[in-house]
């Protein structure tokens, strides 16, 4: 792909604007609270779009197009099953406890609700995982720019790291959130023309339906048996594993996204944040998945475009960039690449700002220096930003050198995350759940995940203890690992809680259902009420699934 001067102008303009936003916000950051939690005064339209954009990394944009080309419209399950329902749940049912608790982070909520060890476990694993995922996506981006544009790997990493550092260091969480919104607009405006052009060229949706096997254009028709669909999954694993355990585990407990909602200026705005974010989230498949499906159709119809071959199949990861090269003239090509860069930066800044807060409040203030003044924590927050980005860069190089280590770590992270939602569900809705119960549940849930992986095989992976079952795909294996981990955590938490002394009710006020007054927001109009928004989204969701049944 060849870039011309105007493409670089667009890219450089973008860099100037993101750093400029950080520069303008620098004066509003005078306390640790403003730097790390945005001082709870960000308008709701901004927190909603940031809630979405922080999750929308470059790997997701590239990966969803790849997945669209590989699995077809079934990829939409990652949105319509695996994200939106959980976003509704967190907004309607869980946000009152997160926001109402006045906790500054998700681990801190766990400390208030359960105990120190549960918080420590969550804070430390979260901090490590955040750094690694930031480094891994940095590596993926630099590798892609190297492949597509021939850019130097080191320069890509250093440049992107330096820019994210500049604007998060200057303006803290507020700057990260503001930039995420700009990045979100850019992603939508930069990629939707590609979806429109590619789908039109492939003959519209009906044209695609004619050219591709039936299974690629139906989301639900072939999920009865794993052998019938390319994902190798079946309805129960899909709904329970992806739609419930994994999705709720991410959207309802991951501090990276929850932090955006917690930055809102009121409880009512915090609850509306994930609900309003659900609207664009529902539409995203049309922007990121459709181009991938169209790419496969264009390949099959001999249009002149072809997915790059790889082995016996195609190199799906290049679907998005090869389409851009074919459909975007210079100028728009620059916008598309800038959008890719923007999606990467929004994901990375999300990781960095979440890492910051958890390290400063939950690890440093929690265990290293509990009683310093606010100025001290502001400095620590700033230093952590620099160190965090430095460690992400180091991780990117580890990823470049030792691919196996990264695969292994991502597997372990999956084990740690899988049981999380059971802990939060019981913590928020069952006042009898205790700290010992939660801690034991998390550990045994992770162990159950590892055990399931050790006893089952899929695509030649797993079964390192013995093979008692084999899954048709790794995706199905992941879903079932999650189901076993969640169920184990749920069961152990309940049993251990019942065997240990309950927490005093006075300590749980504002943290648990039944001991919390969920404030009725009389000022909010009927269309701003969480229930109204959730119902509208739910109806639209059912409609979308029926259309692509």
């Amino acid at each position: 792909m060849h870039l011309s001067a105007v493409d670089y102008v667009v890219l450089i303009l973008y860099f100037i604007f993101v750093i400029g936003i950080g520069w303008r916000l620098r004066k509003s950051v005078t306390t640790a609270g403003e730097f790390l939690t945005a001082g709870h005064h960000v308008p709701v339209w901004i927190t909603s779009l940031a809630f979405l954009a922080a999750n929308l990394g470059a790997q997701e944009v590239v990966g969803m197009a790849a997945s669209g080309a590989k699995y077809g419209i079934m990829t939409s399950h990652f949105y319509w099953v695996g994200a939106v329902p959980a976003m509704l749940f967190v907004g309607v049912f869980m946000m009152p406890f997160y926001y109402g608790s006045k906790a500054r982070s998700v681990p801190e909520y766990l400390k208030m609700r359960f105990d120190e060890k549960t918080r420590g476990l969550n804070a430390i694993t979260f901090a490590i995982m955040t750094l690694f995922s930031s480094g891994i996506s940095m590596y993926a981006l630099a590798k892609m720019f190297n492949l597509v544009l021939g850019w130097n790997f080191n320069n890509s990493i250093l440049l992107s790291g330096a820019i994210v550092l500049a604007y998060t260091y200057l303006g803290g969480l507020t700057s990260a959130i503001y930039n995420e919104v700009l990045q979100f607009f850019l992603i939508v405006l930069g990629f939707s023309p590609l979806a429109i052009l590619a789908v039109t060229r492939a003959g519209g949706w009906t044209g695609i339906q004619q050219r591709l096997p039936d299974v690629m254009t139906h989301a639900w028709k072939y999920v009865g048996h794993p052998e019938q669909n390319p994902m190798g999954v079946e309805a129960f694993g899909l709904i329970a594993g992806l739609g419930f355990v994994l999705s709720f585990g991410y959207w309802c407990t991951d501090f990276l996204v929850i932090q955006r909602a917690m930055a809102a200026d009121s409880m009512s705005a915090a609850r509306r944040t994930p609900l309003l974010a659900a609207f664009p989230k529902m539409i995203m498949p049309f922007i990121v998945i459709l181009p991938g499906i169209a790419a496969l159709a264009l390949t099959k119809m001999g249009s002149g475009y072809s997915l790059p071959p790889k082995g016996a199949g195609y190199d799906y990861d290049q679907a998005l960039t090869t389409l851009m090269a074919q459909f975007y003239p210079s100028g728009m090509l620059g916008v598309g690449l800038t959008a890719l860069m923007a999606s990467f930066m929004s994901g990375m800044a999300g990781n960095v700002t979440a890492f910051n807060t958890v390290f400063t409040y939950d690890i440093y203030q929690g265990y290293i220096r509990p009683n310093a003044n606010d100025r001290h924590y502001l400095t620590v927050g700033r230093v952590t930003t620099v160190v965090g980005i430095g460690l992400s860069i180091a991780t990117a190089y580890v990823a470049a050198q030792f691919n196996d280590i990264m695969d292994f770590l991502q597997l372990v992270f999956g084990f740690v995350n899988a049981p999380l939602f059971a802990t939060f569900l019981l913590g928020m809705f069952w006042k009898r759940a205790t700290g010992h119960g939660a801690f034991a549940g998390l550990l045994s849930g992770t162990a159950a995940a590892a055990l399931t992986h050790g006893l089952t095989a899929a695509e030649g992976k797993g079964a390192w203890i013995a093979q008692i079952h084999s899954f048709p795909s790794q995706m199905a294996q992941n879903f079932w690992i999650a189901i076993f981990a969640w169920s184990t955590c749920f069961l152990v938490t309940v049993l251990v809680s019942l065997a240990t002394a309950p927490h005093a009710e006075s300590r749980l006020r504002g943290l648990v259902y039944g001991l919390t007054d969920v404030p009725h927001d009389a000022a909010a109009k009927w269309y701003q009420q969480p229930a109204t928004l959730a119902i509208v989204v739910a109806v639209a969701l059912v409609f979308l699934n029926l259309v692509f049944l």
């Binding site: 102008v9 303009l13 607009f185």
Partner: protein
């Protein structure tokens, strides 16, 4: 506090103008006959202008 509509509006308006300006002489992309730069440039200009308008009205209020 900075009104985010201002810088984002400005950003898209500028990109829109650049795309429109180059669209008349720019060769088309290999697989489409549409003037992609012109159409997306117009959309971005309108979007940027809309954000700027909102920011302006927000300031007056």
């Amino acid at each position: 506090m900075l009104d985010l509509r201002l810088p984002s509006g400005l950003f898209f308006a500028i990109i829109g103008v650049i795309l429109i300006a180059i669209s008349f002489t720019n060769p088309r992309a290999p697989m489409t006959d549409s003037n992609v730069d012109l159409y997306t440039g117009l959309v971005m200009l309108v979007f940027g202008g809309f954000l700027l308008l909102l920011a302006q009205r927000g300031r007056q209020a």
